[in-house]
C-alpha cells in the first residue's frame, strides 16, 4: 500500500519534472554561492567541504519537502487519498518513501557537482558518504514529511516548514558533518561509530513517532 502511494507520487513527479529540476538547480546554485562565500587564500576548499555539502543537502531537502503536500492540496487530492481505506501508517510510509526518492535524487545529483566544484577526492570515501547520507536523510525527511503535511494547511506555509523543521535538522546535520569530515580525512570507522549510532537512533525514534502521529495531522 505504501509502495503504491510512493509509486503514484514518483510517477507524478517524473511526468512534470519541474519540481525535481528546480530543486537540483537550487542545490547547484547553493554550491556556487558557497564557493564565493569563502576566501580561498585563507580557507582551503577541503576544510569547508563537509559543512558545504550538508548545508546544501539541508536547504535542497527543505525546498523539496515544501512541495510534498502542496500538490495534494491543490486539487483536493489529499481528501481523496484520505477517503480511500488506506491505513494512515501506510499513507505516511508512502509519502515518506516518495520524499526520500525525491530528496535522494537531488542529493545524488548534488554530490558529483560538489566533487567538481570543490575538487574533493571521493574515491575512497564514496561508499561511506552514501551510507551516512542515507542514514541522516531518512530521519529528517520523516520529520519533514509530517511537518509539510501540517504546513500546507497554515498561512505562510513556505515559511512555516523551515522554522519548524530546522531545529530537527540539527542533530542529523551535526552527526553527518562529523562523519563526513572523518571519512574525507580517511579516519578509521571506530572514530565514527558514536555518531553513526546517534544517527541510527534518530531515524528509529522519529520514523516510528511520525508514523504514529500522522493520523493526528490528517484526520479531522
Amino acid at each position: 500500500m505504501a509502495l503504491a502511494i510512493a509509486a503514484k507520487d514518483i510517477r507524478a513527479e517524473l511526468r512534470s519534472r519541474t519540481a525535481l529540476l528546480s530543486a537540483v538547480v537550487f542545490a547547484a546554485l547553493v554550491l556556487v554561492v558557497f564557493n564565493f562565500a569563502r576566501d580561498p587564500t585563507v580557507l582551503a576548499a577541503t576544510d569547508l567541504a563537509p559543512s558545504v555539502l550538508w548545508v546544501t543537502f539541508a536547504l535542497a531537502a527543505m525546498v523539496a519537502l515544501n512541495r510534498a503536500f502542496t500538490i495534494e492540496r491543490e486539487h483536493g487530492a489529499l481528501d481523496g487519498l484520505l477517503l480511500a481505506p488506506v491505513p494512515r501508517g501506510a499513507l505516511f510510509g508512502g509519502k515518506l518513501l516518495a520524499n526520500l526518492a525525491f530528496v535522494g535524487t537531488v542529493e545524488a545529483v548534488t554530490l558529483p557537482l560538489f566533487v567538481l566544484f570543490f575538487n574533493v577526492d571521493l574515491t575512497d570515501a564514496l561508499p561511506g558518504i552514501v551510507a551516512v547520507t542515507a542514514l541522516a536523510t531518512i530521519g529528517f525527511v520523516a520529520v519533514g514529511t509530517i511537518f509539510s503535511a501540517m504546513a500546507v494547511r497554515t498561512r505562510f506555509a513556505e515559511l512555516m516548514l523551515p522554522v519548524l523543521l530546522l531545529p530537527f535538522m540539527v542533530p542529523p546535520l551535526i552527526g553527518a558533518v562529523q562523519v563526513t569530515s572523518r571519512l574525507l580525512a580517511g579516519r578509521p570507522l571506530s572514530e565514527m561509530l558514536g555518531w553513526l549510532r546517534l544517527l541510527a537512533l534518530y531515524d528509529v525514534v522519529f520514523v516510528t513517532l511520525c508514523t504514529m502521529a500522522f493520523s493526528a495531522v490528517v484526520d479531522e
Partner: protein, 233 residues
C-alpha cells in the same frame, strides 16, 4: 455575562494575584541576593546574576516539559483544557527562556570573556527557544481550533523527543558551562547562604510561572467565550 466568561474572570483574578505575589517575591529576592548573601570570592558581583539565571532556566524547563507532557496527553484524551494549558505554558516558557538567554551572556562576558559559546547547554536552550517560537508561530497560523490543537500537540511531542538528541549531539563537542552544583549526586557544593537565596529565588520563579500560566489560560478561556458569543450573536 455567560458562565464561561465568569469562570475566565475568576481565573484571571487568581492568576493576577499569584503573579503579583511572585513579583513581590522577586523584589525580595533582589534584596536577599544583593544585601544578605556573601559576594563570591572569585567572580565578585557578577555571580549575583546566578540567582536569576538558574531559576529562570528552571521555570523555562518546567514550562517546556509540561508542554511536551500535555501535548502527548492531548493526542490521547482530546481534552481542550490540555491544549489551552500547553499553549499558555509555551508562551510563558518563551518569556523565561528570554530571561535565561539574556542573563547568561551578561554573566559570561566578564567571567568567560565571551558573550556566547557553542557549549552543549547553551546550544540546547537556544534550540528549545527556537523550537517553541516555532510552536507558537504554528499556533498563530492555523485558524481551526481543533486542527491547531492537533498540529501543535504533534510538534510538542516531537520537540520533547528532539531535546535529548540535540543534547547528545552537542555534548560530543565538550562543554564549558559550569557543572551542576546543586542537583548532583553528592551534597550541594554551595555555601548555605547562597543556597538559601537560590532556593528562595527558584520558589519565586516557580510561583511566577504558575501565576503567568494561570493568567494566560484565563485569557484563552475569555477569547473562546468571546468567539462563541460572536458566533451565537
Amino acid at each position: 455575562m455567560t458562565g464561561s466568561e465568569a469562570a475566565a474572570r475568576a481565573l484571571a483574578r487568581r492568576g493576577l494575584g499569584i503573579s503579583l505575589a511572585a513579583l513581590a517575591g522577586l523584589a525580595a529576592v533582589y534584596v536577599l541576593a544583593l544585601g544578605f548573601t556573601p559576594v563570591e570570592a572569585r567572580q565578585g558581583m557578577a555571580q549575583k546574576i546566578f540567582y536569576l539565571h538558574v531559576p529562570a532556566a528552571w521555570s523555562a524547563l518546567i514550562a517546556f516539559s509540561l508542554v511536551g507532557v500535555t501535548s502527548a496527553l492531548y493526542l490521547w484524551l482530546h481534552d481542550p483544557r490540555l491544549d489551552r494549558f500547553a499553549a499558555a505554558s509555551a508562551e510563558v516558557g518563551v518569556a523565561f527562556s528570554a530571561v535565561m538567554l539574556t542573563t547568561g551572556p551578561i554573566w559570561a562576558k566578564p567571567i568567560w570573556g565571551t558573550w556566547w559559546t557553542w557549549d552543549a547547554r547553551l546550544t540546547l536552550t537556544l534550540f528549545l527557544f527556537f523550537l517553541f517560537i516555532g510552536y507558537l508561530a504554528l499556533r498563530a497560523s492555523v485558524h481551526d481550533p481543533a486542527e491547531r490543537a492537533r498540529f501543535s500537540a504533534v510538534v510538542g511531542i516531537l520537540g520533547m523527543l528532539l531535546v535529548p538528541f540535540i543534547h547528545l549531539s552537542v555534548y560530543l563537542f565538550r562543554t564549558l558551562h559550569p557543572q551542576p552544583i546543586v542537583l548532583k549526586p553528592s551534597a550541594p557544593s554551595l555555601p548555605p547562604e547562597m543556597l538559601r537565596t537560590l532556593l528562595v529565588s527558584t520558589l519565586v520563579f516557580t510561583l511566577l510561572y504558575v501565576g503567568l500560566v494561570t493568567l494566560r489560560y484565563a485569557l484563552a478561556l475569555a477569547e473562546e467565550a468571546r468567539d462563541e458569543a460572536a458566533d451565537a450573536g
